[in-house]
Symmetry: C2
Subunit: 555 residues, 2 copies
């Protein structure tokens, strides 16, 4: 083991200009929900501005960060009261880490955690609790978190709501734990929260809540190590990623994931078919239910919060892509399409969907039903292949709900502006209002190097129309692997899209921050303008390049 | 005079991967319209992709660039046939260049040009020619330029149009010179083309044509020289600016403008009140009609193609801004509001509007009726102040049309997504479909450093809804002066917004380039993907950072 393979240090300390704080619901002082607060210049004569905080303990100067110990398992006491059983963990197999030699094996994170499993006949998932009328601590936490600023904005909230356009969403002036429960029970929202991820700071994803964003990270045989992977997570959540998908492939994948899970305050998603493919030597034809099932259990026991499952890529749909300009561009979609064609059989993910549900329910892993046939170009948007799959995802949503599983639905991709709303409306209709989770969409194909922008246009619009979570796109999309700067730019760009959507929907408190920064701008309170922005460092740097003097900042 | 004050060299040579070419309408071989063509890899077995080209002779290896001589006055023969008179040019005054000492005076561009003026009773402006049923060479040129790709796309054009959503625009499958004439005659489009700007490559601005973008440049006492200003222009049009506004202030402004005008193939816009203010020592209270009128004539004789005139800021509207979060943020708006309050009089721009029209008609300077009361924050969007001014701009549009002047209307600014369409609809209604020309709008205020993105979201949407030209915003907006990289990023970002709008409107040929790049992407023709993109250099660089080998580019 070499030094650089072991996570040693990650970025810590507050975002410049912000203070970390925790507040609790009145009746639950044990539930501490994190926020950031920005103090304004005394001349403003305004209270601090409180903002949503995804960054976890890493930005808390009072927190002791020890990657080997993992984050404090704050959900431990909550989970302890739910009657789960401690189960014998699946033994790690050499293929879990790509059969790597001992000399190159990254050690697993040594943080001790028992593996929990749900039992039949008793609620396990947030959906099951919600249906049983039980409000979990996760629901209380998420409700308090969402209420950011709403207490002081209750007066006039209805007028602000009426001033927006939410296309049939039903955002209440104030979020109660009971509202969270009801939304989850209805399938309109999810809290991805594997019972083996006790370090999680719960977050709710649904169209009646703040729009969320996801950032992807992934190792690469060439460029990454475990240390770098954990730092990528920390870096992405520092700038505002609500969830992170670990799309790693290759060697050490299992052990790197252990470091990520034990140190992640945000839900972690994966695409299990990627690792399953590694286990069969990279040949899609060799995939089968047994290796896939084994991978699901492996990752579920590690605590992964949601799985992308491409069960909607049915054999009959593959020919529908034949005349496309860009065929099948989803990696999971390509793998399954190839498997279906090679065996000339229905997808095992589709045929075994009930079994997949049973596994995911046991740990409360949420579904992210993958859009394996999403368009890879504007030319292919909204075609029969895409929509046939979406209809199947609707069918599978109902199966998963019946099995007690939480579900969200993945969406495109590349879609010109005038075809975006059709996607949203069809998703709501086909999938019973299960949360939509889209990649962009990119509204033109002609700007490689700027696809964070082409996609932010589509993302802002579809977020406004009702998408619950937006998967980020970085400037390196279509070109290469994002570096640290790209991840930051991608996250900030998607925070813009999500916030623009919240504003347009008429969220009763979203404009608080805009108004505070606008007042600061008008009064030339430069430091306040920087600190209230999504990226204080870049704003300050740009300003100082042409107006470097301190005097200019208070003028 | 120091060496760096004299424009010596600017960026020349083709955009990497593109070839310059000129084609002519069948019956007018004397009219040579520029395009770029991108040759694809032989394996593609596809013809070259032709794209719109704003870059002028600077990207033509066959052109001899001599800044002192200026560009070839290609409109000379056209103008010669229209009966204009050569007039005695207004003598340059010391205050035109800010009373700068001879030792610091940048010399004027020595390119010899006679000053032309229109005469009463004969058509001067493109609007007057259009109304008289006369198709000018500028109209023929602009029609041919717009037809990019449409010849080969005539088959199926109607279906592609029907597949789009143009909100009542009427984009024809093919653009004839007669269509251009009719659109100008109806006031729905303009060709900004001062008769003293013979170097111009004409471009048409209107909702039934390709969406255009503007880039702003401007000197600064601290950072710029004449050489830098011309290079800024060349740089902005290289990446796709259709028009450029010169917002320079301070010393040498007249002489720097002479270099820009004589070397600009694109329409140049200015805000004359800025220079008028310089002439009265920076005190708005000292402005009057005489100094403004003198400035209009000065700039019109130099060849400026359109003037922003803030004649809609009426005395009665100023109090409407009192309760705003960000008051008046337009510089021209602030100047005129202060003048109105100081004198407690109606704006002289409003009162003298007929006289302004007479001057602008004489040279065919187009109006860009300024939105001096545009919102500076989402909080102030669509308020009574903004809309009252817009109603006045509608009234002034009709006056200008009666005087024979071409008109476009400036729009906001900062507007949340759900309030954008109202702006467009109201502008079309109030201003009789005169072209709308908006700054963004920014859809949230919370991202200083990223306002090219916050505004591109709004720009793409309002372009789709019917805005004819989008004024770019750079990453430095609200923070400082854009440098060379910022200008490029701003221009490329706005080309994205404009193209996304064209696609959504159902432009019959817009998707040609998207489809070509999508095929290149799907077939791993990396060089083709780079070259077909808006910024080949950045795409190539991003790719090479992580996959540097040549082999990867043809794999």
């Amino acid at each position: 083991m070499t030094v650089q393979q072991k996570p040693a240090s990650v970025t810590t300390g507050p975002v410049i200009g912000s203070r970390k704080l925790y507040t609790s619901p009145a009746d639950r002082p044990d539930i501490r929900v994190p926020f950031r607060e920005i103090d304004l210049h005394p001349s403003a004569n305004e209270p601090p501005v409180r903002i949503y905080d995804t960054s976890g303990p890493f930005t808390d100067p009072a927190a002791h960060i020890d990657l080997e110990a993992g984050l404090t398992p704050l959900r431990g006491p909550w989970l302890a009261g739910r009657g789960f059983t401690t189960i014998a963990a699946r033994a790690v197999k050499p293929e879990d880490n790509g059969n790597i030699g001992d000399d190159k094996l990254v050690p697993a994170c040594p943080a001790p955690r028992e593996v929990l499993g749900g039992v039949a006949g008793r609620p396990v998932t947030q959906l099951e609790f919600a249906r049983a009328g039980i409000i979990t601590e996760e629901m209380i936490y998420a409700a308090h978190r969402e209420n950011l600023g709403r207490q002081e904005m209750v007066a006039g909230a209805e007028e602000r709501r009426a001033d927006g356009e939410d296309f049939g969403a039903a955002i209440p002036p104030f979020i109660t734990p009971e509202f969270v429960r009801a939304e989850i029970a209805a399938g309109r929202a999810i809290i991805p929260a594997n019972i083996n991820h006790p370090e999680l700071e719960p977050v709710i994803i649904g169209r009646n809540f703040l729009v969320k964003i996801n950032a992807n990270i992934g190792n690469s045989a060439v460029t990454s190590s475990a240390a770098e992977e954990v730092e990528k997570l920390v870096w992405a959540i520092r700038w505002g990623a609500d969830t992170v998908m670990d799309l790693s492939t290759g060697r050490n994948i299992h052990n790197i994931r252990s470091w990520i899970m034990r140190n992640s305050p945000v839900p972690i998603g994966t695409v299990p078919i990627y690792q399953a493919l590694e286990k069969v030597g990279g040949d899609p034809d060799k995939l089968d239910w047994e290796v896939f099932k084994d991978t699901l259990i492996e990752q579920a026991e590690q605590g992964v919060d949601y799985f992308t499952i491409h069960a909607g890529v049915r054999l009959a749909y593959v020919p529908l892509t034949a005349k496309r300009v860009t065929g099948i561009v989803s990696r999971g979609g390509s793998i399954m399409a190839r498997w279906c064609l090679a065996h000339h059989r229905e997808s095992f993910l589709y045929e075994r969907f009930g079994d997949i549900c049973d596994i995911m329910r046991k740990y409360d892993v949420s579904f992210s039903l993958g859009d394996g046939l999403r368009p890879g170009s504007n030319a292919d948007a909204n075609d029969r292949a895409q929509f046939a799959e979406l209809e199947t995802l609707g069918e599978l949503t109902k199966v998963a709900w019946d099995k007690g599983c939480q579900v969200m639905i993945e969406g495109p991709g590349h879609v010109p502006m005038h075809k975006i709303k059709v996607n949203m409306d069809k998703q709501l209709r086909e999938c019973g209002e299960a949360p939509f989770y889209t990649l962009g969409p990119l509204v033109t194909d002609i700007a490689p190097g700027y696809d964070h922008i082409t996609s932010a246009i589509g993302a802002a619009m579809i977020g406004w129309f009702g998408t619950a979570m937006l998967c980020y796109v970085t400037p390196k999309e279509h070109l290469g692997l994002p570096d640290r700067d790209d991840v930051k730019v991608g996250v900030v760009t998607y925070r813009i899209a999500a916030h623009a959507a919240d504003l347009a929907k008429g969220h009763p408190a979203a404009r608080l921050r805009d108004d505070a920064i606008s007042r600061a701008r008008f009064e030339f309170r430069w430091e306040d303008q920087f600190n209230l922005g999504l990226d204080p460092d870049t704003a300050r740097q740009y300003h100082d390049e042409t107006m470097p003097k301190e005097a200019h900042k208070v003028a």
